[in-house]
C-alpha cells in the first residue's frame, strides 16, 4: 500500500549521516525518555545480587561486590526505543554477558538456546542466546560516566542495543536459560518476540 501524502507536511529531515543511522520509523532525541511500566524499584546495593540459572537447577550468584570485581568495559552505542525515539552514542560501562556466562559455566550452569531476564518489580523479557552473546550484550551499571539511575534501570540493567530497548531489561536480577522462547512482559502484551529495529519488528505479527 502506498502511503498518502500528508498535505502540506514538510517535516524535519535528519542530516544524511543521521538518517543512515536511524532505523525505519525512528527519530533522534537528545533527551533520555523514561517509559517503564509501573513504579521505579529502588533496590539498595546491600540487598542486590544477580544470578544465572539453568533448567537443571544449577545457579551462579554474584553480590554487588563480586559483580564489581568482574571485568567491566566501556561501550558507546546507539539505542532505539519502540516508542520511536533513538539516541545516538550512548556511553555505558558494564560486564559483557559473554564474560558472565563463562563465569557461570565455570560454576556448572549450562546454557540453552533462549533466556528470560527477570527483574525487580516483576518485569521480564525473552531473548535468543545468540542475541546476547558474541559481544552484543552487557549488564550495565553506569550511563554517561555515572552510576545508573533507578529511573533508567539502576543498579544494573541488561543492555542489548541492537534490539528495541524494551529488551534491555531494567533492574535485572536473574537470567534463566530456557529451551524455548517464552514471551516476557511486553511480548505477552502485543509486542514482537524479537524486536529488531532494522526490520521494524515492533508488534506481534510485524515482519
Amino acid at each position: 500500500m502506498t502511503s498518502p501524502i500528508s498535505r502540506g507536511f514538510r517535516g524535519r529531515r535528519p542530516a544524511a549521516g543521521t538518517a543512515a543511522r536511524l532505523p525505519p520509523g525512528q527519530y533522534v532525541t537528545n533527551d533520555f525518555p523514561v517509559l517503564s511500566a509501573g513504579p521505579t524499584p529502588h533496590t539498595p546495593l546491600s540487598a542486590w545480587d544477580f544470578s544465572f540459572g539453568d533448567a537443571g537447577g544449577n545457579s551462579a550468584k554474584w553480590s554487588w561486590a563480586e559483580f564489581e570485581a568482574l571485568p567491566h568495559e566501556t561501550i558507546t552505542r546507539d539505542i532505539h526505543c519502540v516508542t520511536k525515539w533513538s539516541k545516538f552514542d550512548t556511553v555505558w560501562t558494564g560486564v559483557s554477558v559473554d564474560t558472565i556466562i563463562a563465569a557461570a559455566a565455570a560454576k556448572g550452569v549450562t546454557t540453552a538456546p533462549f533466556i528470560v531476564a527477570a527483574c525487580d518489580g516483576g518485569y521480564t523479557t525473552n531473548l535468543p542466546l545468540e542475541d546476547v552473546t558474541g559481544g552484543k550484550a552487557w549488564l550495565a551499571a553506569t550511563f554517561d560516566g555515572k552510576p545508573l539511575h533507578p529511573e533508567h534501570g539502576g543498579p544494573v540493567r541488561l543492555l542489548v542495543p541492537h534490539l528495541y530497548f524494551w529488551k534491555s531489561a531494567k533492574w535485572v536480577r536473574q537470567i534463566h536459560f530456557r529451551q524455548r522462547d517464552e514471551p516476557g512482559f511486553w511480548e505477552g502484551l502485543g509486542y514482537h518476540m524479537r524486536g529488531d529495529p532494522w526490520k521494524e519488528q515492533r508488534y506481534t505479527g510485524d515482519e
Partner: protein
C-alpha cells in the same frame, strides 16, 4: 461469529496493518490542544487506554511516525485522537496546526495491552493525570459513562487531574458534565500555576498528601492508572507505593514532553 469476550480481551488483529483514516471533524480543546475525529473504515475495535501509531509522508517520500493515545471509547464508531502541540514538535505541530477536515491520516492500531481498562475489569477506578496524560484516562471515563447506572455504581471512579492553568484543562466542560450526572464519579483538579479567580481547590503539584486525601486506600485494591509527564508519573507512582498500594497494581504511562521537569 467472533466470541465477544475474546474480542474484548484481545481486539488486536495481527499483523497490525497500516490504514488510511480521514479527518471528519476537528475540535479545538485548548490553545495548544485539538482533537482529530477520524473516520477509519474497517477499524477492528479497541479498548480504552490503547493508542495508535500515526505516520506522516512528505511529498519527497520522507516519513516519520509517532504514537497517540485514543481519546474515544470503544463505543464510538469514530476514532478520536487528542493531540497537544509540543514546542518544536515535528509531528504534533502538523497535526494541530496544518491537518484539515478531509485530509488523510495514516495510522495503525490499536496498540497496547497493559494500560487498558474496561468496566468488566471492575473498580474502584483511580485515575491520576497531568496535562495531555488525560487522553487515555478520558477514553476510560467515556467508556465507563456509556455503561448503565447500575454498572457505574459498582465501578466507582475518581480522577485527579493536574493542569497548569484553568484554560489548559483539556475536556474541562465534559468532565464537569460527567461528574454532575454521575454520583459514582468524582473529578478533582489541581492547578499548578494560574488558578482562576476565587479558586478554592488544590493549587500545587500532585504529592503524597494530596493522594492520601483523594485516592482510594490500598485496602480497596483500586485499579490505578497514572499518565502524564515523567516527573509527575514518577512522583505519583512512588507516593502510591508509599501509601501501601501493590507496585504491580500501579499502571503507568509516561509521555508528553520529557526532559527537565518544569
Amino acid at each position: 461469529m467472533e466470541d465477544p469476550a475474546a474480542a474484548e480481551s484481545s481486539p488486536i488483529v495481527h499483523p497490525i496493518a497500516w490504514r488510511v483514516a480521514t479527518v471528519a471533524e476537528i475540535v479545538l480543546e485548548t490553545p495548544r490542544v485539538r482533537t482529530l475525529v477520524l473516520d477509519a473504515s474497517g477499524w477492528p475495535g479497541h479498548r480504552a487506554g490503547q493508542h495508535v501509531d500515526v505516520r506522516l509522508t512528505a511529498g519527497d517520500g520522507y516519513q516519520t511516525e509517532r504514537s497517540y493515545s485514543i481519546a474515544s471509547p470503544p463505543e464510538e464508531a469514530r476514532i478520536e485522537l487528542t493531540v497537544e502541540r509540543l514546542e518544536d514538535g515535528e509531528v504534533s505541530s502538523y497535526l494541530v496546526d496544518d491537518l484539515g477536515v478531509g485530509d488523510p491520516l495514516e495510522l495503525r492500531g490499536p496498540i497496547g495491552g497493559y494500560f487498558v481498562w474496561s468496566v468488566s475489569d471492575g473498580g474502584p477506578l483511580m485515575l491520576v493525570g497531568g496535562g495531555s496524560g488525560i487522553v487515555p484516562l478520558m477514553a476510560m471515563l467515556r467508556h465507563r459513562a456509556a455503561a448503565s447506572e447500575e454498572v457505574r455504581r459498582k465501578t466507582p471512579a475518581r480522577l485527579l487531574y493536574s493542569s497548569r492553568s484553568w484554560n489548559e484543562v483539556i475536556y474541562r466542560d465534559e468532565l464537569a458534565r460527567l461528574a454532575a450526572a454521575d454520583d459514582s464519579l468524582e473529578v478533582v483538579h489541581t492547578i499548578t500555576r494560574a488558578p482562576p479567580a476565587g479558586w478554592t481547590g488544590f493549587h500545587r503539584r500532585i504529592d503524597a498528601a494530596m493522594l492520601a486525601e483523594i485516592a482510594w486506600p490500598a485496602a480497596s485494591t483500586p485499579h490505578l492508572f497514572v499518565c502524564g509527564p515523567t516527573p509527575l508519573v514518577e512522583a505519583v507512582a512512588e507516593a502510591l507505593v508509599a501509601l501501601g498500594h501493590d507496585p504491580q497494581s500501579v499502571r503507568t504511562e509516561r509521555f508528553g514532553p520529557t526532559g527537565p521537569s518544569s
